[in-house]
């Protein structure tokens, strides 16, 4: 039982709000959907025990409005907040405000959020825990001269990254000292404009890197990993197709990678679910920590399917004061799982956003198939938020069985009323390089560009 949580406020929307409600219901915790005026007809609002309206559609007036969320806690008597992903999920001030209001923040401490949210500080923390990091500048850089000096040891090509950045934003590439001189001030300006903090640092760019990340759970003293996910298939640094485990690692590499993640998690005294992102260099077999996300992630279901552990329930239990209750040896890797993101974007029009009214809707069913979505027939997808509509998730005894189930799942899905990336996944699943797992973080964009020019020919 989760003694600590009497009533849970969900400070999010879309599929993750539905996912959190489902986990809370399984634990017998009443829920409040805190939503914007645009989301009063959302599935989360329909499923929650109570609904509290935060404010107008705009995120800064609703899902990012700390005062409104604190007001919702007070008005509803909820004593815990699950922030989901995005919005305020990695905002240390929000976590602090929730704690100051006497409520539980479902996630790590504000100190941990702040520490890992500062990319340069995260890097120092990882190094101190003996976790390999991408060669980079020792700290933040403030002028071109020191950047050029630091570049001598980092090596080219390199990335200029905003300390306060995330989600792939605030990153620029420099292939030589001249480009660095040009791009450095631009990065500073961009970082200042986007994040209110102009601090940047340098990092070696690994050309054919795979994006591999480790799921962890901690209760403040003890931590375990739930193996890794591979999320190399990205467009504009947004993940499209994810899987667990990574097909690139052998058992020994997997053990080394996951053990490093647990070391860092325990060094932090981490409480809750978190993800450590790494770049994996296929050519050398080296892995490098890049950052930690101190929240639940969009692609968490693939880890749930291969381990049988409900991560969102685990988050609620830990936040409620329970110990982890899991030893590493309890967690087995079972088969393979894939996740396909359906976004309201039109692959035929360069992924232009396509909000609209859900007309016909049919989800796939069957062995090893799961759908996480907030759609229902007659639901109008609002244009104000991100474009994620659903996640088709499949599990098989091995990767080939999962791929076969993925094809079946795509074929069995009907969604009309708006364009979506469903058809893209159908095409993707036919690619030989997907089956052989011969890809890196640039592969999807290269394929999309070839597909586009091929279509015109």
């Amino acid at each position: 039982m989760t003694q600590g949580i009497g009533k849970l406020l969900i400070a999010n929307r879309g599929e993750i709000a539905v996912r959190i409600i489902r986990a809370a219901k399984a634990l017998g915790i009443p829920t409040v959907a805190a939503c914007s005026e645009a989301d009063v007809d959302s599935l989360a609002a329909l499923l929650a025990d109570e609904v509290h309206i935060l404010g107008p559609a705009r995120a800064d007036k609703s899902y990012l409005n700390v005062e409104a969320l604190l007001g919702a806690l007070k008005a509803t008597g909820a004593n815990a907040v699950h922030p989901g992903y995005g919005f305020l999920s990695e905002n240390a001030e929000f976590a602090e405000a929730v704690l100051a209001a006497g409520a539980i923040f479902v996630g790590p401490s504000p100190e941990t959020i702040r520490r890992m949210g500062d990319k340069a500080e995260a890097r120092r923390t990882a190094q101190a825990a003996g976790v390999p990091v991408v060669p980079g500048s020792p700290g933040e850089l403030f002028d071109v001269e020191s950047a050029l000096k630091a570049a001598e040891s980092v090596g080219f090509p390199l990335l200029i990254k905003a300390s306060a950045g995330g989600g792939g934003r605030g990153i620029r590439l420099a292939e030589n000292p001249q480009q660095l001189s040009e791009e450095f001030p631009r990065s500073q300006r961009e970082a200042q404009a986007a994040f209110g903090n102009g601090a940047v640092y340098l990092e070696r760019f690994i050309g054919k890197a795979r994006h591999i990340e480790v799921q962890v759970l901690g209760d403040g003293t003890h931590a375990v990993h739930l193996f890794e996910r591979e999320c190399s298939l990205q467009r504009r640094r947004q993940k499209i197709f994810e899987e667990a485990p990574s097909p690139a690692l052998d058992a020994q590499q997997r053990e080394a990678l996951c053990a490093s993640a647990v070391r860092l998690t325990e060094a932090l005294g981490y409480q809750g679910a978190g993800t450590l992102e790494y770049l994996y260099d296929d050519a050398t077999g080296e892995f490098f920590f890049i950052e930690m996300n101190t929240r639940i992630q969009v692609e968490h279901p693939v880890s749930e399917l291969v381990t049988g552990i409900d991560l969102v329930q685990a988050m609620l239990r830990i936040a409620g004061g329970e110990p982890l209750g899991l030893q590493q040896s309890d967690i087995r890797l079972n088969g393979a799982a894939l996740q396909m993101r359906l976004n309201a974007e039109d692959p035929a029009r360069d992924f232009f956003p396509s909000p609209g009214l859900v007309q016909a809707l049919n989800w796939p069913q069957g062995e090893g198939v799961r759908v996480d979505s907030h759609l229902y027939e007659g639901y109008r997808v609002p244009p104000y938020y991100d474009s994620l509509l659903a996640k088709l998730i499949v599990h098989g005894r091995d990767r080939n069985e999962a791929l076969a189930r993925a094809r079946w799942a795509v074929e069995q899905t009907t969604l009309t009323g708006m364009a979506s990336t469903l058809s893209l996944h159908g095409e993707l699943l036919e690619q030989p390089w997907l089956h052989s797992a011969d890809f890196h973080t640039g592969t999807l964009e290269t394929w999309l560009a070839e597909r586009r020019s091929g279509g015109e020919a």
């Binding site: 645009a38 705009r58 404009a193 309201a344 974007e345 232009f352 956003p353 104000y384 474009s387």
Partner: protein, 81 residues
């Protein structure tokens, strides 16, 4: 002289400036050409520019910065040249 509506083809959020700290693209009363950007429409975190469509003098904005908009909604009116 005839009055022309500037209509958004997209749903989303209307902005009169490129970033919160930027000045407005145009003010009421300004002379604009057909391809003058008068604002942005944000749809699912992607931004599209909204242009005047015809040359003339921008009469008035009917939508405030940051307001939600629907496809076909009149954003501004202008007097053509």
């Amino acid at each position: 002289m005839a009055q022309h509506p500037v209509i958004t083809p997209l749903p989303g959020t209307f902005y009169r400036k490129a970033t919160p700290d930027s000045p407005n693209y145009v003010e009421a009363g300004a002379e604009v050409s057909a391809d003058t950007v008068i604002g942005l429409i944000e749809v699912m975190k992607q931004f599209s520019e909204l242009t005047a469509g015809v040359a003339g003098r921008l009469d008035a904005f009917l939508v405030e910065d940051g307001d939600p908009v629907e496809p076909g909604q009149v954003i501004a009116t202008l007097e053509d040249a």
